[in-house]
């Protein structure tokens, strides 16, 4: 058998892993298996520019002309259904298998659905290009949009839909949206931006059920209120695509469990991106990070682990961004409840500020709204304070 690495999942983390293998002069066969028919594409624009209609499909492409030289063996439209650790093989849905010395698990996550809403027209989730195409078609018909969940994707869809002229209501179970990632105080500040732009935000209210036969007509809330709805977007988080690994011997714990260097407990198998729950020395536990930059950078470490070379780079602090109503929201670091938050520049009322999260007087995270320059300096400073890999 020629030396082979199988990469399962053909999106940002998978493509980055394939590029990292070649960048480290790996000259064996690299097989990239992806269940979507599309060549790797970028997801962040799906709730922003692509949904708004300012980006085309071509704009979404992650691949470039330089990738031709990587000489990858693409298996698109192919679902991996199992990993056989003894035979070191990835089993595919068509009954064939790919034998490999090394395996990179990069199957990402899928949108969580609201139980009992299958088959009801007008109800959407947003994770894939196909989802975005279907949602955009429904949004263009106009009318009332109800977004269930005021997380980042829900908020971005609300913002884009307002731009398209829809009447938008966002329903959130938690009393304060984004309290998880940003903390209650800053979550509340970001939530106010919805009202600035005419989006109704109903927090602390659960959804009882969706009303409609064949097509959705309304969303009924736990308190009995009924919101008319022509389109509903369910944005209640994502679940890792790891069920296919159930019998593989790879430990699953809210994702594929890995150490800080992306190694699973099966030799020769690493995991990266949204499907991986990786040990974080900063957090003191395994965390499944669902950010773009993480899926881009983590494969460098994973590939070094696979090839037995030095990862070289210092681990980056977690970083993500969001765009809502023309505001650029950026966050870096590891926040904890009980951290003190201090606005060090601008003001929340002006919707342009930089807030620093401190623990024991030490900065641990930073949030910027429309402050890219200052934010970048703080993000750098947090990075240089981070301990190197053990």
């Amino acid at each position: 058998m020629t030396a082979t690495v199988a990469v399962v999942g053909a999106s940002l983390a998978g493509l980055s892993a394939a590029r990292a293998l070649r960048a480290r002069s790996y000259d064996g066969r690299v097989v990239v298996i992806g269940d979507e028919a599309h060549a790797p594409y970028d997801r962040p624009p799906l709730s922003k520019e692509f949904l708004a209609g300012t980006y085309t499909r071509e704009d979404l492409a992650l691949g470039t002309a330089a990738d031709e030289a990587l000489d990858l063996d693409w298996r698109l439209g192919t679902t991996a259904v199992g990993l056989d650790r003894g035979r070191r093989a990835v089993r595919l849905a068509d009954g064939s298998e790919v034998r490999a010395d090394g395996v990179v698990l990069a199957t990402g996550a899928r949108a969580r659905r609201l139980p009992g809403t299958e088959g009801l027209a007008g109800v959407h989730v947003l994770r894939s290009l196909d989802d975005a195409v279907a949602l955009r078609a429904d949004l263009l018909a106009g009318g009332h949009l109800v977004v269930i969940g005021a997380g980042f994707i829900g908020a971005e869809v609300a913002s884009t839909a307002r731009g398209l002229g829809l009447d938008v209501t966002v329903v959130e179970t938690q009393p304060v949206p984004l309290a998880g990632p940003l903390g209650a105080r800053m979550g509340a500040v970001c939530a106010e931006v919805h009202a600035d732009h005419g989006t109704r935000l109903l927090s602390g209210t659960g959804v009882a059920r969706l009303v409609g036969t064949g097509r959705v007509e309304a969303v009924e809330l736990a308190d009995g209120r009924r919101l008319p709805a022509d389109v509903v977007v369910v944005g209640i988080g994502a679940v890792p695509n790891v069920e296919w690994l159930a019998d593989s011997g790879v430990t699953l714990q809210g994702g594929v469990l890995t150490d800080a260097r992306c190694a699973t407990d099966v030799p020769g198998v690493v995991a990266v991106g949204d499907c991986a729950s990786s040990w974080s020395p900063e957090a003191g536990r395994a965390v499944r990070v669902e950010h773009w930059t993480h899926a881009l950078e983590q494969p460098t470490t994973a590939v070094a682990t696979l090839l037995g070379t030095d990862p070289g780079t210092r681990p980056a602090v977690p970083y993500f961004w969001s765009e809502q109503y023309g505001h650029r929201i950026q966050f870096a670091g590891t926040r904890g409840d009980g951290d003190d938050v201090r606005v060090v520049e601008g003001s929340c009322a002006d919707r342009s500020f930089l807030a620093v999260y401190e623990r024991d007087g030490r900065p641990v995270a930073v949030l910027g709204v429309d402050q890219p320059r200052l934010f970048t300096r703080w993000r750098r400073q947090l990075r240089s304070a981070e301990p190197a890999l053990p």
Binding site: L12, S16, R19, W321, R328, P372, R373, F375
Partner: protein
């Protein structure tokens, strides 16, 4: 040639954004005493690269962190896919000048 600023107004490690007398904004950087100029607007989205982070002879975009080589304009990796244009810089009588539209030596 477009005058930018006296050399001592742009110390090492700093950047300045030029918008006057140029067709599109230009970012000028001082890397250890050497001056470099590139288009200020990132080729990915509309971030100002003068707001970015200088690391060696490259600038990291402040939004999604693509790094552009100041000598060639080439991005190191995603999300940017296309290079920024470079512009020649000369110092005349202690003043930094831009030659917009003239690619810097060694540019792609």
């Amino acid at each position: 040639m477009v005058p930018v600023c006296p050399t001592d107004a742009l110390p090492p490690g700093e950047a300045i954004r030029v918008t006057a007398d140029v067709p599109a904004p230009v970012a000028v950087f001082n890397v250890d005493g050497e001056f470099y100029a590139i288009d200020d607007t990132c080729t990915h989205q509309d971030a100002s690269l003068a707001d970015g982070w200088l690391e060696g002879c490259a600038v990291e975009c402040p939004l999604h962190a693509s790094c552009f080589d100041l000598r060639t304009g080439m991005p190191s990796g995603p999300p940017a896919k296309t290079p920024v244009r470079t512009h020649a810089v000369t110092v005349v009588d202690g003043v930094v000048h831009l030659q917009v539209g003239v690619a810097a030596e060694g540019a792609a």
